[in-house]
């Protein structure tokens, strides 16, 4: 199975502020009642975007200045909580192609990489600078460059990014969805299974 080689993501950004944003906040549990992931995009961050009476709270996602943004800029420990893949799926379906944060929760990180969404970290001060730039000049073109290991904002700003080397390589080589490789080893799988004391057929 040939997958796209993801070396860089280019697009405008939107900053969603807040530490420890958990997957319940990314996609509230009531939207998990689906048998496919299509259509999840519109419910992204639903409960912080809308009040109980249905009126908008003025969330950055609904701010026309950030319409069409494809790079999501967030804060620390993004995606903590439940392992639901609906969270990165709803982000992907909303049109985001990369996420920049100070740090990510582990399961969320893995789930996102497996969808081909680079999750890169910046040092706190750099992230703050990036967020400020996105907010003050929403039309700034951002580049998440895995090859050079930098996040750039316009022509003037750039910061070194962090990402697990394995994940970065997998994205760049088009191996981010592991199923192809896992399938290659069918015979080995059967022989290891047979060697396990509890798995013999």
């Amino acid at each position: 199975m040939a997958l796209a080689k993801i070396e860089r993501v280019v697009g405008r950004g939107v900053h969603v502020a807040g530490e420890d944003i958990d997957t319940d906040r990314i996609i509230p549990a009531r939207f998990l009642k689906c048998v496919t992931f299509d259509g999840l995009g519109e419910h992204l961050f639903k409960d912080v975007r809308f009040r109980e009476d249905g009126s908008k709270t003025g969330h950055p996602l609904d701010d026309p200045r950030f319409a069409g943004a494809s790079i999501l800029v967030v804060d620390r420990n993004f995606g903590c909580g439940s392992s639901r893949e609906h969270a990165p799926q709803s982000i992907a379906k909303r049109g985001f192609k990369a996420i920049v944060a100070e740090s990510f929760a582990e399961i969320f990180f893995g789930n996102s990489i497996a969808l081909g969404i680079p999750c890169v970290s910046l040092a706190r001060a750099d992230l703050d600078q990036l967020a400020k730039r996105v907010e003050s000049r929403p039309d700034t073109v951002l580049t998440v460059d895995l090859v050079e290991g930098v996040v750039r904002a316009g022509d003037d700003l750039g910061w070194p990014l962090g990402i697990k080397p394995g994940a970065s390589e997998a994205l760049q080589k088009g191996l981010w969805d592991p199923i192809g490789q896992l399938l290659e080893a069918k015979d080995q799988i059967r022989s290891v299974a047979a060697s396990l004391p509890y798995m013999r057929a």
Binding site: D20, R25, A29, R30, K33, V35, T36
Partner: protein
């Protein structure tokens, strides 16, 4: 130097190292449920793949099923659709499905151990982050995403980075009225909600060895709340005793062989760890959360933290956000905070021993008239056993509703929800904003006995005083 259980189990399950450096790890037991798994079958169909080892996957329904009226079709069309999608997929791919009428249905992390599917020294995966629960048996068990559910279905394998191992040693003895739930809330408070990122937690020491199997499940269950994807306890005589006679446990010759394997995989006395944390059980008190993540916890006798006590600006804003959401005032005692709802259940604390322990103290007491109280057994087996002992009656007499098994108000994907900004004393595992079904609903996590005490008093209370626990 010796090896830890984690390293031993990891090594025997390794198929190979993938080009990207991750391990291709074989999964011994795969559990699926209606919320995160039906989509994976769709992905399989799209790719034209089959299930490689259908006999190693087991399905049940727990997250969305109603706990009051289980008549089919469910009133909620979407819920009905998801259960049906899972059932159809299981039929198509030859997977055992414990349906609502099977007598074995329940929360996936409760039925796995109950049926003897969960065993020492195996690897367990499930599309649910509380899969760490199964680590109580000395299994390496972890939550996975839907794409990984697809991977396991198609290849019985996962591509994973090896975790580091942190040993958490709890010495001494727990005081009266202090439970496994308090240990884990204490651990998360100390190490933080992402202190365990990249680690497997090995819980050890006299206070852990003294725990029953069900208490060990409570402990391992919330490892993920501390950021650790895997948490486990080394198997011992209690583990083996628990396994005996379970429907899927090995028997006869197979038992003897299994036992030898189980004994061999426990951590060596001189095992190497990446980190060791020591905790004295005597310093752990009945613990409750005050904020919007499980690390924001204090003992029931402490005062709610103030913004000024926070060590830095980031912490300050976290405390501020939590206090404002919870509508609590820093500096005030948490004890006496009025509650509206009491919930006993979930994969953390919805087992027979949880209901037994509460029943011991609840007998003869009444739930405060201001509190709506819900008891939801974790599985049909738990319900049956509790009912046979008359525990359901004790709960009902006290003013609890006694429901059918499911996840219920732990995440409120079914009709059991908080309303408006109701405050719930809950035996579950997550106090995130909106977790219990209302976007402004509030949750205080605690042990089941503490929930019962709060239900009786109508406010957060010290169960040791409410129920004169001195044992």
């Amino acid at each position: 130097m010796g090896k830890s259980l984690f390293d031993k189990v990891w090594d025997v399950h390794t198929v190979r190292t993938l080009p990207g450096g991750e391990t291709q790890l074989i999964v011994g037991l795969h559990l699926i449920h209606e919320v995160t798994s039906p989509q994976a079958f769709g992905m399989l169909r799209d790719l034209g793949l089959r299930v490689m080892m259908p006999e190693r996957t087991f399905a049940t329904v727990d997250h969305i099923i109603p706990t009051d009226n289980r008549k089919r079709p469910f009133q909620d069309n979407l819920a009905e659709g998801m259960v049906k999608a899972l059932k159809d997929a299981c039929q198509e791919f030859g997977i055992t499905f414990f349906d609502v009428d099977s007598g074995r249905q329940g929360i996936v992390h409760i039925i796995g151990p109950e049926l003897g599917l969960t065993q020492p020294g195996i690897t367990v995966a499930c599309g649910d982050s509380h899969t760490s629960t199964h680590g109580a048996f000395g299994a390496i068990a972890m939550g996975i995403g839907t794409t990984q559910v697809r991977d396991v279905l198609a290849t019985q394998c996962l591509a994973l980075a090896r975790l580091k191992v942190r040993r958490i040693e709890v010495s001494g003895k727990l005081g009266p009225g202090v439970y496994a739930k308090d240990i884990i809330l204490h651990v998360i408070r100390r190490l933080g909600v992402f202190g365990g990122t990249g680690y497997a937690y090995e819980y050890a020491g006299p206070a852990i060895e003294a725990l029953s199997m069900e208490e060990r499940m409570t402990l391992c269950n919330m490892s993920i709340e501390g950021g650790a994807r895997v948490g486990y306890v080394n198997p011992d005589e209690k583990t083996f005793e628990y396994m005996k006679g379970r429907p899927y446990a090995p028997q006869g010759d197979a038992w003897t062989k299994a036992l030898a394997y189980w004994k061999s995989i426990a951590s060596d006395a001189d095992a190497r760890y990446d980190d060791v944390v020591r905790i004295d059980a005597a310093e752990i008190a009945p613990t409750v959360t005050w904020g919007i993540n499980p690390g924001q916890a204090i003992s029931v006798k402490e005062r709610i933290p103030t913004v000024d006590q926070a060590p830095n600006a980031a912490e300050r804003s976290l405390v501020e956000e939590a206090l404002s959401y919870m509508q609590l005032s820093g500096g005030h005692p948490i004890e006496g905070t009025p509650i509206n709802v009491a919930f006993i259940g979930s994969c953390t604390n919805g087992r027979l021993s949880d209901f037994r322990e509460v029943a011991r103290y609840l007998k003869g007491s009444k739930v405060s008239s201001s509190v709506r109280a819900l008891a939801v057994p974790g599985s049909m087996d738990v319900a049956k056993a509790a009912e046979a002992e008359g525990i359901d009656q004790i709960f009902r007499d006290a003013g609890f509703e006694w429901r059918e098994p499911g996840c219920s108000m732990c995440l409120a994907m079914n009709p059991d929800k908080l309303i408006g900004n109701e405050l719930c004393a809950s035996s579950s595992n997550r106090n995130f904003k909106g977790r219990q079904g209302s976007p402004t609903g509030r949750t205080i996590l605690m042990s089941p006995v503490m929930v019962a005490a709060a239900a009786v008093r109508g406010a957060v209370a010290d169960a040791r005083e409410v129920f004169s626990i001195r044992r």
